[in-house]
């Protein structure tokens, strides 16, 4: 793939499983992108946007709370359900804990979209397509009813 991300961290990304959907930019990250924003970088480190009342930490628990605040609840899997928006939360296993790394959002087609740090955003066939040494694996799926048109 011609993306700017480190290929070794994403062994499942290839021309068949992913497509670049916008150029690399540091303007927004996966946490914002999964929530539907492409104008902000969401991070708990203090200088960036982080929703109020959410623990200021890049942890699985904080991300679940963050997306719960946007109407999502933890669900069983990432199978497409037309009446629901879905996101996936990723973490990597460290010796003493699981470290949150990434969030992705399901598209209406059933594919997924990810913003890879300050690199490009991509669409990928499965939520698990970005599993690997960089992001670890999906640890939670969350869903919310789609807003009525």
């Amino acid at each position: 793939m011609p993306g700017s991300w480190p290929e070794r961290n994403f062994p499942h990304l290839n021309a068949a499983s992913c497509q670049i959907t916008s150029p690399a930019t540091p303007a927004y990250n996966c946490i914002a992108w999964a929530a539907g924003s492409n104008t902000e970088w969401w991070d708990p480190s203090g200088q960036y946007y982080w929703p109020p009342d959410i623990p200021a930490e890049f942890t699985i628990e904080a991300l679940i709370q963050l997306y719960e605040g946007l109407g999502f609840t933890v669900c069983i899997g990432g199978t497409l359900e037309p009446d629901f928006d879905k996101i996936a939360i990723y973490a990597i296993q460290l010796p003493d804990r699981r470290q949150a790394t990434h969030a992705a959002r399901q598209l209406d087609s059933g594919e997924w979209t990810s913003k890879l740090g300050a690199c490009e955003d991509i669409s990928h066939t499965y939520a698990e397509s970005v599993n690997g040494p960089g992001y670890g694996e999906v640890v939670y799926f969350m869903s919310r009813p789609k807003p009525r048109a």
């Binding site: 991300w5 480190p6 961290n9 994403f10 930019t25 540091p26 303007a27 990250n29 996966c30 946490i31 914002a32 104008t39 902000e40 970088w41 969401w42 991070d43 480190s45 200088q47 960036y48 946007y49 982080w50 890049f58 790394t101 990434h102 913003k115 890879l116 740090g117 300050a118 690199c119 960089g134 992001y135």
Partner: protein, 158 residues
């Protein structure tokens, strides 16, 4: 290895030459030859077989650019600012201390409407300055503007 240097100002020939050579072309002979071919109508042409003594400021500038390039590689695809800003190259930039401030500000200015994540370094080196209004946090263009205004007020902008 000969380094060809072009300038319309003889007095600035050393700075222009070294900066172009290291920052734009990289340390290869073929790259240096590209520098020779780049200008359309040079007025002054100089060459030297000896390394030119660079000023400390120039060395810092070169080092900063090298570290910035390394950082872009080292940060990979992380979305965590903590992870992004604890990569060795970024830490090395912060370790440059106040000398790095004008370089970071210059870099931020050059990045225009696509600013990069220099804010942690600025906050650290400035010993806690935080000129970004709460409502602008996360919007990198607005954060950049706030820091550039701060630099102007503090005399770091060039």
């Amino acid at each position: 290895m000969k380094h060809w240097i072009f300038s319309t100002q003889p007095a600035s020939v050393v700075v222009v030459g070294i900066t172009s050579f290291f920052l734009l072309c990289g340390p290869t002979e073929s790259a240096a030859q590209e520098v020779c071919q780049a200008p359309d109508e040079p007025i002054y042409i100089h060459s030297t077989n000896q390394p030119v003594a660079a000023t400390e400021a120039l060395e810092r500038s070169i080092r900063f650019q090298m570290l910035a390039s390394e950082w872009h590689v080292q940060r990979g695809a992380t979305s965590s600012i903590e992870q992004m800003c604890t990569r060795p190259a970024y830490l090395s930039i912060m370790a440059m201390g106040p000398d790095a401030l004008p370089l970071i500000i210059g870099q931020l200015k050059s990045e225009g409407n696509d600013p990069d994540h220099w804010f942690v370094a600025l906050h650290h080196i400035s010993r806690g300055a935080n000129p970004v209004p709460n409502e602008d946090r996360g919007n990198l263009v607005k954060m950049s503007r706030a820091w550039l205004d701060w630099a102007e007020r503090e005399g770091y902008a060039r």
